[in-house]
């Protein structure tokens, strides 16, 4: 089974391979679909819903939906952009995202996605939840204020690091990221070099003592908007 097939996103012909999701095929073809929980090294999780696209007229998460021959996918429509903004704004007001003094600023995918979508301020009221910080570990700390419950650390620890450091507990608005110990990150087998740390899209899991090695203004998304690396893969259309 290696026969590729064609489908379209916003009228652009995309080559898909069996087993690929819409998002994976789009990434390979250089078409950027905004996302926060999906990551190229991880199994699809489908939590943030920012990558929602219309598939043959029906809404589907691009990260979890297998691509199929002849699919007609809409991505960059005004309506979808509005819903994506709404979802990103929901994540901003649900937590406490103090971008102006967050050491992840400039490398943060939530912030960068908001910039790319043109969000100036959320339309929803800030909830200002009280959240815990766990700084018990010598090399890594968790700030639940900035967690967007994307599940990347859960999957990365399990599937990339071969450990089970993280998992969610609770449900609804009490849902939070938790550690494989009675209470503290220090009591887990998390290592400072674990992939689960770097894979956090926001400033919720941070490595200690390196927060400002690269100055703000010179960071990844300070230089190029999020998604640029994917879009760079797209062959220029003839005559353009």
């Amino acid at each position: 089974m290696s026969e590729s097939f064609l489908f379209s996103i916003d009228g652009i012909k995309i080559e898909g391979k069996p087993g690929q999701t819409i998002l994976q095929a789009a990434d390979e073809a250089g078409v950027y679909i905004p996302r926060l929980c999906a990551h190229k090294d991880l199994a699809p999780f489908g939590a943030c819903r920012v990558c929602t696209v219309m598939v043959n007229g029906r809404p589907q998460a691009a990260c979890t939906t297998p691509a199929a021959k002849g699919m007609v996918v809409e991505n960059e429509t005004e309506a979808l952009k509005k819903h994506r903004c709404s979802l990103v704004e929901m994540l901003f007001v649900e937590g406490n995202h103090y971008c102006m003094f967050c050491e992840k600023s400039g490398n943060c995918e939530l912030q960068a996605t908001a910039y790319r979508l043109g969000i100036l301020a959320p339309r929803y009221p800030y909830q200002f939840p009280r959240q815990d910080v766990d700084a018990s570990h010598p090399d890594v700390w968790i700030d639940r204020n900035r967690c967007i419950l994307c599940g990347r650390c859960v999957l990365a620890s399990r599937d990339l690091d071969g450990k089970h450091v993280f998992q969610f507990v609770g449900r609804s608005t009490d849902k939070k990221i938790w550690v494989n110990a009675e209470a503290h990150l220090a009591d887990t087998n998390l290592g400072g070099a674990d992939k689960a740390v770097d894979i956090c899209p926001v400033g919720a899991i941070l490595r200690k003592r390196v927060g400002y090695t690269v100055p703000v203004g010179q960071r990844l998304y300070d230089i190029k908007p999020i998604g640029s690396d994917i879009e760079a893969r797209r062959p220029a259309a003839p005559g353009r």
């Binding site: 699809p44 489908g46 939590a47 943030c48 819903r49 920012v50 929602t52 809404p59 998460a61 979890t64 939906t65 297998p66 509005k82 819903h83 709404s86 979802l87 929901m90 994540l91 007001v93 649900e94 339309r123 929803y124 009221p125 909830q127 967007i148 419950l149 089970h164 993280f166 998992q167 969610f168 507990v169 609770g170 449900r171 609804s172 608005t173 009490d174 849902k175 938790w178 550690v179 494989n180 110990a181 009675e182």
Partner: protein
């Protein structure tokens, strides 16, 4: 005194140290030790060979499980909208006064815990509460005080059962004061059927013929979504897999629904017979009934019915002497999570996980319980199946309407003279139903539970069927003096509580919507808020991962549609204040004022 560690290891061993049976293990530990303590989490994790945080993740998901110790007796007072209409708040006050604790707390002697719980399927005999597994109905303040006295004296909730209910509620294995309140019996679900009669006819056909019969009957799922049952079976039969599974959804959690409770009390044989037929049709040997924790009082009785069926070779190996036809059923208990009524969340729960829904595709028919192709059908759907095999698809298709064949069991509650269960043909006019139940002066009717829609008198001529007013069975009537917006607020609170929290639009959307609706009800809404609600709702519908989130905005969106003037009357026309009407400056200043030890002069209270 049992040595806890040894006992917990023993519980795990009894369940084969099998991580997929984590629900049963956690429920057993909770039942015996009053909680799944931190130590228990470690012991279970060790025994079944999974990380501790996975056990904690499951325990923290379900409201009937808890890491913190609870009393030997847990009083769970139902606080759904119907129970509150019939005095649950006064009952709540009596409980708190008599126990000297608030909701969410346990008495200092560690004996009694007090909690709220969403709909327990007793709206026709509200207010009601669960006391451990015992259901107490028609509560009053006096009765609440008496309950506390009895519990203090005896510590035994079974002592609270006074007059037994009708029918099998009085069966020694049920021993319950619950009433069936069957108001109208129809020919499909609530009629008698000799055990084995339909199954015998099914086994005389080929599995494909059985599926074709169901297709000819045009039976659609009774849980609410209305997917054609025959087609679902066909997909499951065609799917690759050595083993397949029949899953019966008895997690009746939609507020205002209680008809499955009545079926399981009076006619469980028909449900099990339908499941067995399904097993034969799709080629499954495993059947699971997912029974909601609130109906635990029915479990022993249902087990005895299963046992009797095994004794008559209606379950087991070579059923009714037909070689190669094997099927058996086990009961999987839930632990308090509405979302588990969603079929993929139910599968997660059966597998010993949090009740998180799964991504589709793959659909359960392709890859369901433990990867087996699985058909998930409602209790009532299985009853229809058995009847169709017994009476024939044509007989069934002649009842009801063209797109909605057969009868529907409705659970009617609220402001009507005869709340209870009605089996009516599909296509019945809502106005006719309201006359039947004694609710001619209804101001509004919620059809389909919290996830359904609020219908105003202007639409009472509409009919109950899949193509018009679809419902899994819940019909809640609201009389002239009820505040419809407050009803919607109760439903939003329910969804907020029950969202699994997996995806953004449901987790955050329900919270934001509840908050805005509350502001409007409190007179702090303003022009533009109705559009805000509508846009928020449209994102929740579009982007949510499962049916819960996709319908969680319905209480607001459908009341906005049917009762818009009620909203508009509450909105402020212009804001002359320095702050947004929705912004409560006094509340915002509270912490700072407390710390400073003085209060704002500009924004004086």
């Amino acid at each position: 005194m049992i040595e806890p560690a040894r006992d917990i290891r023993e519980i795990c061993r009894t369940h084969g140290n099998d991580p997929t049976r984590l629900m049963d293990i956690a429920r057993a530990v909770q039942g015996k030790h009053g909680c799944v303590s931190s130590q228990a989490l470690d012991l279970i994790a060790q025994a079944v060979g999974i990380p501790r945080v996975e056990v904690e993740s499951l325990v923290s998901f379900y409201t009937f499980l808890s890491v913190k110790p609870k009393g030997n007796v847990v009083i769970r007072l139902c606080n759904d909208v119907i129970d509150e209409m019939f005095g649950a708040e006064q009952v709540a006050r009596a409980f708190t006064e008599e126990l000297g604790i608030r909701f969410g707390e346990t008495t200092p002697d560690g004996k009694i815990s007090l909690e709220h719980t969403p709909c327990i399927g007793m709206c026709d005999q509200a207010p009601a509460a669960l006391i451990n597994d015992v259901v107490v109905t028609y509560l009053s303040s006096d009765r609440a005080r008496e309950i506390v006295r009895v519990l203090r004296e005896t510590g035994d909730p079974r002592r609270l059962v006074r007059r037994l209910g009708d029918g099998n509620n009085a069966h020694p294995l049920v021993y319950s004061m619950v009433h069936n309140n069957i108001r109208r019996e129809g020919p499909v679900v609530l009629a008698p059927l000799a055990p084995g009669a339909a199954l015998k006819k099914a086994l005389a056909m080929s599995p494909v013929e059985v599926i074709n019969g169901i297709k000819t009957s045009r039976l659609r799922g009774r849980g609410g979504a209305g997917f054609p049952t025959g087609m679902k079976w066909e997909f499951t039969r065609a799917a690759d897999g050595d083993q397949k599974c029949v899953l019966c959804n008895a997690d009746e959690g939609e507020p205002g629904t209680f008809k499955d409770r009545v079926i399981l009390t009076e006619n469980p044989d028909i449900t099990f017979e339908g499941m067995t037929i399904a097993g034969y049709a799709i080629g499954a040997e495993l059947g699971i009934v997912y029974l909601r924790a609130e109906y635990a009082y029915l479990r022993a009785f249902l087990e005895s019915v299963l046992q009797a069926r095994r004794a008559r070779n209606l379950l087991g190996r070579n059923i009714l002497g037909k070689p190669g036809v094997h099927f058996d059923i086990r009961i999987q208990m839930g632990a308090g999570a509405y979302v588990c009524g969603e079929e993929t969340a139910m599968i997660s729960s059966c597998e010993g996980q949090r009740g998180d829904p799964k991504d589709r595709p793959p659909f359960p028919a392709q890859k369901g319980y433990l990867g087996m192709p699985t058909t998930v059908n409602n209790v009532e759907t299985f009853c229809c199946v058995a009847r169709i095999l017994d009476n024939g698809p044509g007989w069934f298709a002649d009842i009801g309407s063209r797109g909605s064949t057969g009868t529907k069991l409705l659970s009617v509650s609220g402001d009507c003279s005869s709340p209870g269960v009605y089996e009516v043909p599909f296509g019945i006019r809502l106005s006719d139903l309201l006359t039947m139940v004694g609710a001619e002066d209804a101001q509004a009717v919620q059809v389909g539970g919290a996830a359904g829609r609020m219908v105003s008198p202007a639409e009472f001529q509409r009919t109950i069927c899949y193509d018009d007013l679809a419902t899994g069975g819940s019909v809640m009537v609201f009389g002239p003096n009820r505040n419809i917006l407050k009803v919607a607020l109760k439903f939003m609170e329910f969804f907020l509580e029950e969202s699994c929290g997996y995806c953004t639009p449901c987790r955050v959307g329900t919270m934001l919507m509840r908050r805005k609706l509350e502001e409007i009800i409190e007179g702090r809404g303003q022009i533009g808020d109705l559009e805000y609600l509508q846009e928020l709702g449209s994102t929740m519908i579009l982007a949510s991962r499962c049916g819960l989130g996709q319908t969680a905005a319905n209480p607001v969106l459908t009341t906005l549609q049917a009762f818009r003037p009620a909203y508009e009357a509450l909105l402020r026309k212009k804001t002359a204040e320095p702050c947004l009407a929705s912004f409560d400056i006094r509340a915002a200043l509270q912490d700072a004022e407390r710390l400073a030890g003085r209060s704002s002069e500009i924004f004086a209270g």
